[in-house]
Each structure stands twice: as C-alpha cells, then as structure tokens.
C-alpha cells in the first residue's frame, strides 16, 4: 500500500536535496507573549508561551511537534497560520514574512498552507452540506467551474474513504471519524503544500484513530505533502513524522530524526516522555511495571524556572557534580548540534546519551521474574 518508511528515510539522508531547498515555512527566533489577565495592569506579568523558537519545514517534510499541555505547541500552530502574531521574531512562508502579507498575499498563503483541527465537531459548519463545505475552498480560490469542482469533490471524498452519496448530508449525520475525514478532505481540496494538523486524532476512539492515521499517512505519501503534526502522543508522531521537535515550556528541547530521538533521547525530558509511553507492546514485554516517572508537573508559564526550564524536575541533574548542577540553574542551554545531526538543549546531552536507554533489554530481564 504505502512505501516502506526505511526507503524514504534512506532517500532523504543520502541526497541532501531537502537541506538545500528553501523551507516552505519557517520560524526564526519567534517568541509569543500573552498578558495574563488580572496580572499585567502595571506592565506586570507576562506569559511567554513561545520562547525563541526556530523551526523549518521543507517541501514534503513531515515534522512532529510533541509536548504536554502548556508546552506552547498549539500556540506554535496558530503562529504558523497567522491566527496569532509573534511578539518578536519572524514567521516566513517561502522566505517572505507572513506578517507583511496583505489580503491577496494572505489568500495566496492560505492556498498553500491548510489546517486540520483537533475537534471535528466544532471545526465543520453545521449548516452546510458536505458538498458545500468541500466546494467552498474552490470557490474562494476561484479554481475550476461548477462541473470540474464537483468532479474534484467526488475525487477527494473517495480518497478519504467516504461515499459520493454522503455529499448531500450534513456534519451532524456523521460520526467523529467520518467528520475528521471531511475535515481532511476540506484541507486538501485546493492542493496545499503544507497541512498543519493540530492533534488530528486526539478526539477519536482507538480503532478509528488508526484509520485516520493511516489515511493521513497514505495521503502524505501520495501527494508529497508537508505535514506539521502537533500532538501530545509520541505514538502519533512516531507513525506520521520523519522528524520531531520536542517542546517544554515554550522552548524546543530536542529536535532531530524521529527514529533516533525516540529510540535514544539526548534530553532528559524526551527520555522521560518516551519512558512514560504505555505501548501495549512495551508493557507486555516489560511486566516490570516500571515507568520512568518524572516528579512534579510542568511549571506555570507565568513562573518559569531560571536557566534550564526543566531543571527542577530533571532526573539527571541530581546525578551531576555540584558545580555542574549550578550551571543548569544559571545558564540557559541553547539548542546545539550533536554528532549524529540532531539538536538538544541540554548542557549534558552527551551524558544522557551515555546513560542506559529507557527500555534497554536489561530492564526487562531484571524485572521479568
């Protein structure tokens, strides 16, 4: 059905084509502040949701952004499609700042960058039939005539696994999974280059979730779409994305090839995140009943720790020498390149890599009895 993933990874690493082509979408040192209500009356408290994030998305690249709630991942999606404007830094589309776009420019931009939202119940207009919903983007962008539009609608409805007879029905007549199919078809109607998916399957049941993931995967492979997938679920990103960026409190803490990052995390936070995934596979092998449990919770973005945001919860820090520990509190770790090409924002990333892996075979053997 779909090409094996290994093949695609091989192609993109052996030919550095992706590295030379200009990024379709890019964030350059973007920060976004919100003024907390009831706090900021005298220039007071500022909530920094995104803190100096740089990111690039190239043609047909699949990039996952992973983080827990409060990590700023949804704000990131909004900044990318200009639903929010950055406080500082720049979001660019084909090297042009999207902040500078006038109405026609913005229309051109939206023609190429589309979005699939999390909740298919609130993201479809309830008073339009499926045919109207799917035709609207073509009308707005003045693509084709009536006959060719209908043909295009039928084609996409078929591709996302719905029937032509569904066209005259309304969103309320569909289940969650079917609505998400409609939302995906709508995003693809005008052949965008990039689709931003904000938690595309979080609202769906397990068996339906698998269907939608497979659909998103196959559509990407067929059309060489660029994906930016925002999710709290590592399993979703592992399945859909070749590259991943892990966010914590508004900063990217680790970024690189999904396979490498998830198999051998270089940042203690990624490591903990990977260790808390409950795959039935992992759990059945590891009847050890051990999760890598982080203490505490993600701090409020209004009250972010100094230095490395993660230091109060970091399991690695307690194992460092005292002088090294102090560095985590005082000095903000920048995102730096590691020998295997990935980036991590930890002063001691090499130590994390040296450390045993979260699901090393020894773990399993030790606890199997």
């Amino acid at each position: 059905m779909h090409p094996p993933r290994e093949h695609r990874i091989l192609v993109s690493t052996s030919t550095p084509m992706s590295a030379t082509a200009p990024p379709v979408l890019s964030l350059n040192a973007v920060s976004k502040d919100f003024h907390a209500r009831g706090y900021g009356r005298h220039g007071g408290d500022v909530l920094r949701a995104i803190d100096g994030v740089s990111l690039e998305l190239r043609d047909s690249q699949t990039l996952g952004v992973v983080g827990e709630s409060g990590s700023g991942k949804s704000t990131l999606a909004k900044l990318l499609v200009r639903l929010e404007r950055p406080t500082s830094g720049e979001v660019s589309f084909m090297k042009n700042s999207i902040a500078s776009f006038d109405a026609p420019g913005l229309k051109m931009f939206r023609r190429h960058v589309q979005m699939v939202f999390q909740d298919p119940y609130s993201s479809l207009p309830s008073r339009m039939s499926i045919r109207q919903i799917l035709t609207e983007p073509l009308i707005i962008h003045q693509i084709g005539d009536q006959a060719s539009r209908l043909e295009r609608v039928r084609e996409l409805v078929d591709q996302v696994g719905l029937r032509s007879s569904d066209l005259k029905r309304y969103p309320h007549e569909f289940s969650g999974g079917q609505r998400q199919r409609i939302a995906i078809a709508r995003a693809l109607m005008i052949d965008p280059r990039v689709v931003i998916c904000d938690e595309p399957v979080s609202a769906l049941d397990v068996s339906i979730r698998a269907q939608i993931l497979k659909l998103l995967h196959d559509l990407q492979a067929d059309r060489a779409l660029g994906y930016l997938v925002i999710s709290h679920d590592l399993r979703v990103v592992r399945y859909l994305c070749e590259d991943v960026a892990v966010m914590y409190l508004g900063r990217i803490v680790e970024q690189g090839r999904t396979a490498g990052v998830l198999e051998r995390p270089a940042h203690p936070y990624t490591r903990a995140l990977v260790g808390s995934v409950l795959d039935p596979e992992m759990a059945t092998v590891a009847k050890t009943r051990r999760l890598s449990v982080l203490s505490g919770q993600i701090p409020s973005p209004l009250d972010r720790p100094q230095g490395c945001h993660f230091h109060p919860r970091c399991p690695l820090r307690s194992k460092l020498a005292e002088a090294d520990q102090a560095r985590c509190v005082t000095e903000r770790p920048g995102l730096r390149a590691l020998p295997d090409g990935r980036h991590a924002a930890c002063h001691y990333a090499e130590k994390v890599l040296e450390h045993d892996r979260p699901h090393a075979p020894t773990d399993v053997v030790a606890g199997a009895g």
Binding site: P4, R5, E68, S69, S175, G177, Q178, D205, V206, S207, I208, R209, A210, Q211, L213, K214, H217, H232, D233, L234, R235, V236, R238, Y239, A272, L273, G275, S276, V277, L278, D279, P280, E281, M282, A283, T284, K287, R289, L291, S292, V293, L294, S295, Q297, I298
Partner: protein, 322 residues
C-alpha cells in the same frame, strides 16, 4: 477464573437504555469476578458499555439507563438489590470510586480538607480532629506535597494531577477493599499519567485493595492489570490474564484493538466503526467489521473457555497453547 478468592462477582449483568421507541440493550450478559488484591482492567472504546458496567457496581445507574438483570455479589449480598441506605454504607467505605475528571467530581465550593474529612467522618464516625489527622495521612500517602498546610485549598487551585491525587486519597480514606477507577488518567498529561499509574500500583501493593480499572487505552490496562476484560458493543469479547490476552489475543476484536494501538510501520486499521445501540447486530457485535466472520456469527455466540481465558467467538485467532 482467578486463583484468588473473588471479592466481587458480577453475573449476567444487563443494562438497558430507555428510549422513546424501545429499550436498547447497552450491556448484555457481562460476567466477571475480581480477586483479592487483583487488578482487573476493563478495556473498550466509547460505547462499549465499560463505564455503564462499572457504575452499575456502585448503584450509580441513572435514567435513561436501567439495570435489567444480573447480580453484583459483594460480601454475600447482591448490591443490585440493596436500598439507598444500605448502599451508602457500602459505597465509599468498602467500594470506592475514582472518576475520570477530578474537577467535576470534586465539589468546587468546599476545600479539599472539608471534602476529605466529610467522607471519613460519615463512614467511621471519627471526631473532627481524628478525621483531620486521617485526611492529612491520606494525602501524604498519595504523595500530596505539604498536605498539612494545604487542607484549606480549593480544587480550582490545584493542577489536574494533584486533583486526581485528592480523588484517590478520598477513595482510599476509609480503606475500601475494592476501588473502581473509571479512566483515572485520561484527562491528564502523559508524564502526570505515569505518576498517577505508578501511584495506583504502589498503593495497591501496599494497601492490598482490589482494583477495577476502566480504560480505553490498552497500554494503561497492560501496565496495571493482572487480568483484562475486553468489551465491545456492550458485551465481553475476551477475558483472561493480561499478559496472555495482550500477547496472544484470541478474539479478532482484541487482535484488531491491539493492532490499532501499537501504531508501528504497517498499521492495519480495522474498517468501519462501532455499532450504534439502535443498530446492534443480533449475534456478535463485531461481526460486520470482522474479517473472519461467517454466517454463524449472526447468531448469539457461545463463550469458549480454555486455560484461564474466555472468548466469545466461533473463529478465534488462536486457542490454547501455541
């Protein structure tokens, strides 16, 4: 069945949902038992009847749902036959519940200290001071930091993870022998989910209660459960030891559910969607989506038992030792 003494036994539970046209069977012929100190995971998608089943255990079935038949045996009594007063003595004291969303199940108008001491005093008749001491103890047991100074905090002041800890402390306050947890971590972030699951596991080992864990996430079930019950369309599809069932699923639905949950390279999702109550197949509820279905599947399916497993399928994927 289990090698441990059953603490709670459910026999042939049936729950209807009343609608204007007819009564719809939401749960049909569900039977299981929970052993002493055991964790039973009830795994299913939405609409599988898992939450209705566990609510029925505590007499929390509310209109339009109605228990049509069956027995819930606990301590030699059928809980379904008890009146409100008798039930209140069991609920909270001997069988406690942890709900999915701690924000809506805690009372927003009362501090957590008041809510905790209320439960303790009602069931044990302790004095105010005793109840307060016990409340602090409970909060400390669930890893609530600085419990003594924070009895006066209100639920809205706490994070999701801490609220869930308060819910668990409340459930365990009267040292129940059975705890029913309905999706206890579904509203939480992954790192917090790991904390709460770890906590439940430790508390269970220390206090020795039996745990009924209702979840849609096979991973959560696999982590905590000793035995699992896989539900679909209001029926039990497969039950058995967690390790066995999740490693070698026998029912095609269990197989499909695992296949969907793992999301490795060659994801093979099962087509179609779960049946609606109005439109429930007469035989196996999974029959319309099942690749192995035959004509016999449209008849009510007998339950096959082997080893310590029961499977409601006439074309199981695997049987016995393989």
């Amino acid at each position: 069945m289990s090698d441990r003494q059953p603490v709670l036994e459910v026999r042939d539970l049936a729950i209807d949902i009343h609608s204007t046209r007819s009564d719809l069977a939401a749960v049909r012929g569900v039977s299981f038992s929970v052993g002493d100190g055991e964790c039973l995971g009830i795994v299913g998608e939405s609409g599988s009847g898992k939450s209705l089943t566990c609510r029925a255990l505590l007499g929390l079935t509310r209109a339009p749902a109605r228990v049509r038949g069956g027995e819930v045996l606990f301590g030699g009594r059928d809980l379904l036959q008890l009146g409100a007063k008798e039930l209140n003595e069991v609920r909270g004291a001997q069988i406690a519940m942890v709900f999915q969303d701690p924000l809506s199940s805690l009372n927003p108008l009362w501090s957590i200290g008041v809510q905790l001491t209320d439960v303790i005093r009602r069931h044990t008749g302790a004095s105010r001071a005793e109840a307060r001491a016990r409340a602090i103890e409970c909060l400390e047991e669930v890893g609530f930091p600085a419990a003594r100074d924070r009895l006066k905090t209100y639920p809205f002041e706490l994070s999701g993870g801490l609220r869930q800890r308060v819910m668990i402390a409340m459930a365990l306050a009267c040292k129940p022998c059975v705890v029913v947890a309905d999706e206890p971590t579904s509203a939480l972030d992954v790192s917090v989910q790991a904390q709460i699951l770890d906590l439940l596991h430790q508390l269970k080992a220390a206090a020795g209660f039996s745990l009924i864990l209702v979840t849609h996430d096979v991973g959560v079930g696999a982590f905590l459960a000793d035995r699992v019950l896989i539900m679909y369309g209001g029926q039990v599809m497969e039950a058995g030891g967690a390790y066995d069932v999740l490693n070698r699923p026998s029912h095609p639905y269990s197989h499909a559910l695992l296949e969907c949950s793992v999301a490795h390279e060659d994801l093979r999702p099962v087509a179609g969607f779960p049946p609606s109550l109005e439109d429930m197949p007469s035989g196996c509820p999974f029959e319309p989506r099942c690749a192995r279905s035959s004509r016999g599947c449209t008849e009510p399916v007998p339950v096959t038992r082997f080893d310590d497993r029961s499977v409601a399928c006439i074309h199981p994927v695997s049987t016995g030792y393989s």
